[in-house]
Amino acid sequence: MDIMQIVAIGLIATVLIVVVKSQRPELGVLLSVAAGVILFLLVLSKIGSIMDIIKDLTARAEISMVYLGTILKIIGIAYIAEFGAQICRDAGESAVATKIEFAAKIMIMVLAVPIIVAVLQLLLKLVP
């Protein structure tokens, strides 16, 4: 039962963070980073197998792999940026967190532009 393991790690980490943070706030931040990374690494292999299934379905539906690749990249960027921004916000640095989120939005926009252009071109073809 992986979920039991994950909840247990989370609870142990929370107690340790509360203990350490009262004495040394900077080590508390690092501890929460480590806990977050470990929890995500535990589910990342499962995400990988889900991605394989989605790829298989995409190939069966004969949708271009370019679109799926873009969507996967956007999900990856969103997750990493959210992870960093949450840690900054936890440590009380909302300004840095907001900048990370802004940068992630720009990166996602850059990735999404080819799809938007493709949609617009399709629309132009439909309009006589």
């Binding site: 203990v19 080590l27 690092l30 480590a34 690494l41 990856g76 997750y79």
Partner: protein, 67 residues
């Protein structure tokens, strides 16, 4: 897996040790050494966490095909 949860305990141990050493040194009137102990603990933990983060970024890159 086993080494993963170990890291949390290791970081918490360093944190508690640094806090105790810091208060002992403060009582002994050696505040500068207390600061150095804090800095050393922070550097050690930083090395571990940065390696872990690099591992996370590599895995996310390979799962989401972010190259």
């Amino acid at each position: 897996m086993g080494s993963n949860i170990d890291l949390i305990f290791k970081i918490a141990g360093v944190g508690i040790l640094v806090a105790v050493l810091n208060s002992i040194l403060k009582h002994a009137g050696k505040e500068e050494q207390g600061h150095l102990v804090t800095l050393a603990g922070l550097a050690i933990v930083f090395m571990w966490v940065i390696q872990l983060l690099a591992n996370l970024f590599d895995q996310v890159k390979s799962v989401f095909k972010l190259f």
